[in-house]
């Protein structure tokens, strides 16, 4: 899928560990060195205590669907063949929430409260996008 024209992460020193982690099929998040807050989105500084120091720690990749929507409208031409597709706000068991896609089931069947686990989708040689799938299909 080298012709992947969807938005991709711009890899920088700030987010590189996250995207190197997904290539190894690991979901890593930042834990604040001072207050221990586990944060997402990725940031150079802790939004709780403003400490910059942090370590990247693996999380279970398990959680539940917090909200689930289905895109029918094409807002970006690269998604034209994907509609209808699911976007879910996933509540990770460790606390943070992230937007992702629940895949492996029809998009409209994803319900709030469904248990999900992370899966890794290599979209090109550099980038592997974390998505989710039902824990118990």
């Amino acid at each position: 899928m080298s012709d992947h024209s969807k938005p991709l992460p711009e890899i920088s020193d700030e987010n590189r560990p996250f995207w190197e982690g997904t290539r190894r099929e690991q979901l890593l998040l930042q834990r604040c060195a001072r207050c221990g807050h586990l944060r997402y989105p990725i940031s150079h500084v802790c939004p709780e205590c403003l400490e910059a120091g942090h370590e990247w720690v693996p999380v279970s990749g398990r959680g539940e669907v917090y909200s689930s929507i289905v895109f029918h409208q094409v807002y970006h031409p690269a998604f034209a063949d994907d509609v209808p597709y699911n976007v879910s706000l996933v509540q990770l068991d460790e606390g943070p929430r992230m937007f992702s896609n629940v895949v492996g089931v029809p998009p409209g069947q994803v319900k709030v409260g469904d248990r999900v686990r992370v899966v890794f989708d290599p979209v090109n040689e550099e980038v592997t996008v974390p998505r989710f799938t039902p824990e118990h299909p």
Binding site: P7, V70, H72, R97, F99
Partner: protein
């Protein structure tokens, strides 16, 4: 924010109650306006508001602008608009908070007038969003864009809110439809509205999905147009051409966070903005005669109704049934048609309609005896919210 803190804050704001007034409102034609630009629409709206107020441009010494989505100069819009209008203001600037901008600018104008920094402030907006290529389809997310997962466009954020509200409270799409039906019925009585053909709940249900659970008829329009609101002191407003409409309550609240805040989807900061406006006005939901509630999508009206205290959290779905928010109902909402059916002026026309209702200029859609109007705005990725209680001048509170 504890109740005690809010009370102390309200005591400080209370001194601003009824100190300022909206004396002029102006709007251009709305809809598809080929050949128009952000600048031409802003200038036309300014002229219309001056005419409405019976003022000369030399009376205006404050200029606040919203660049909308199509001003090439972006945050320097105040300079571009100011040059076109040929004015050298004592107080100026631009702000970009999407649908939260109109209320924030009018409140900034009011505080500038109350503090003496300016005497008469024009708040100006123009946008050629329909014909000029708007940016409403962009993805949110600083750093790694949510677009990586296809999470883009304005409807998606409200769809997230709707999905969770439905799951937690049993809210239905047919209840969301009640908001669209009410706005369209009101627009049918508004000669300036873009969408005037009445719709039914069945029409709503049959319209295509945009971002499920939201159908096409849950979504606001995209429009070209301009709006201007002129604020001055209550004292000066006595001599204006129009009956004064007093700014009795003002409140704002923001969350800069999205994913980091578990209740982000429910926009709880809206309740803080409303509580501040109510506290300054010394009023509550029971005192409101008519409401103009920011409706980028139908679900937003449901959330406002809960935060404004018209119904309990989770109960807005049943609340909007049976025509309660239609003209003739218990609480008429968006009496000109709102963003959903009048025109998508990012909430600016909500202020204009609030003023017209309190002047008694609503025509066929006038709420008889309306003396108080609640006006709300919200913008960006559900981040920016504000509320105002407007009251009819010359009526003792």
């Amino acid at each position: 924010m504890t109740t005690d803190m809010l009370r102390k804050e309200a005591a400080r704001m209370r001194s601003l109650k009824d100190r300022t007034a909206i004396v002029g409102v102006g709007a251009t034609p709305q809809g598809r306006l080929p050949g128009s630009t952000q600048l031409s629409l802003a200038v036309d709206a300014f002229k219309a508001a001056l005419d409405d107020a019976g003022l000369d441009k030399r009376d205006v010494d404050g200029l606040l602008t919203f660049p909308g989505t199509t001003a090439p100069e972006g945050p320097l819009n105040y300079l571009r608009v100011g040059e076109a209008l040929g004015i050298d203001p004592a107080f100026t600037g631009s702000m970009s908070m999407g649908g939260g901008t109109a209320g924030a600018l009018v409140q900034m104008a009011a505080t500038a007038v109350a503090s003496g920094q300016a005497s008469t402030v024009a708040c100006v907006f123009g946008d050629a969003a329909k014909t000029g290529g708007s940016r409403f389809s962009r993805a949110s997310g600083w750093g790694d864009s949510w677009g990586i997962w296809g999470m883009m466009g304005a409807a998606a954020n409200s769809a997230v809110a709707a999905s969770r509200h439905m799951a937690l409270y049993g809210t239905t799409s047919a209840q969301l439809a009640e908001v669209a039906v009410a706005c369209r019925r009101h627009a049918s009585m508004n000669p300036n509205a873009v969408m005037r053909e009445p719709i039914t709940v069945a029409d709503h249900q049959a319209s295509r999905f945009i971002v499920e659970p939201l159908h096409l008829l849950d979504c606001c329009l995209i429009s070209d147009g301009g709006v201007c609101v002129i604020v001055t002191s209550a004292e000066r407003a006595q001599d204006a051409a129009q009956p004064p409409v007093l700014i009795s309550g003002m409140g704002q609240a923001y969350t800069t966070r999205t994913l980091e805040r578990e209740d982000w989807w429910y926009v709880p900061h809206q309740k803080q903005a409303l509580d501040r406006a109510y506290a300054m006005a010394g009023m509550g939901p029971q005192d409101i005669d008519v409401a103009q509630l920011y409706d980028n999508f139908t679900i937003s009206v449901l959330l406002w109704l809960e935060h404004a205290g018209f119904c309990a959290p989770g109960e807005s779905g049943p609340f909007v049934e049976g025509g309660r928010i239609q003209l003739g109902g218990e609480l008429p909402v968006n009496t000109a048609g709102g963003n959903l059916s009048e025109s998508y002026m990012e909430g600016w026309l909500h202020i204009v309609e609030g003023v017209r209702q309190l002047r008694g200029q609503g025509g066929e859609r006038q709420v008889q005896g309306a003396e108080t109007c609640l006006v709300t705005g919200r913008g960006m990725t559900l981040n920016c919210s504000n509320a105002m209680v407007l009251t009819k001048g010359g009526v003792s509170a």
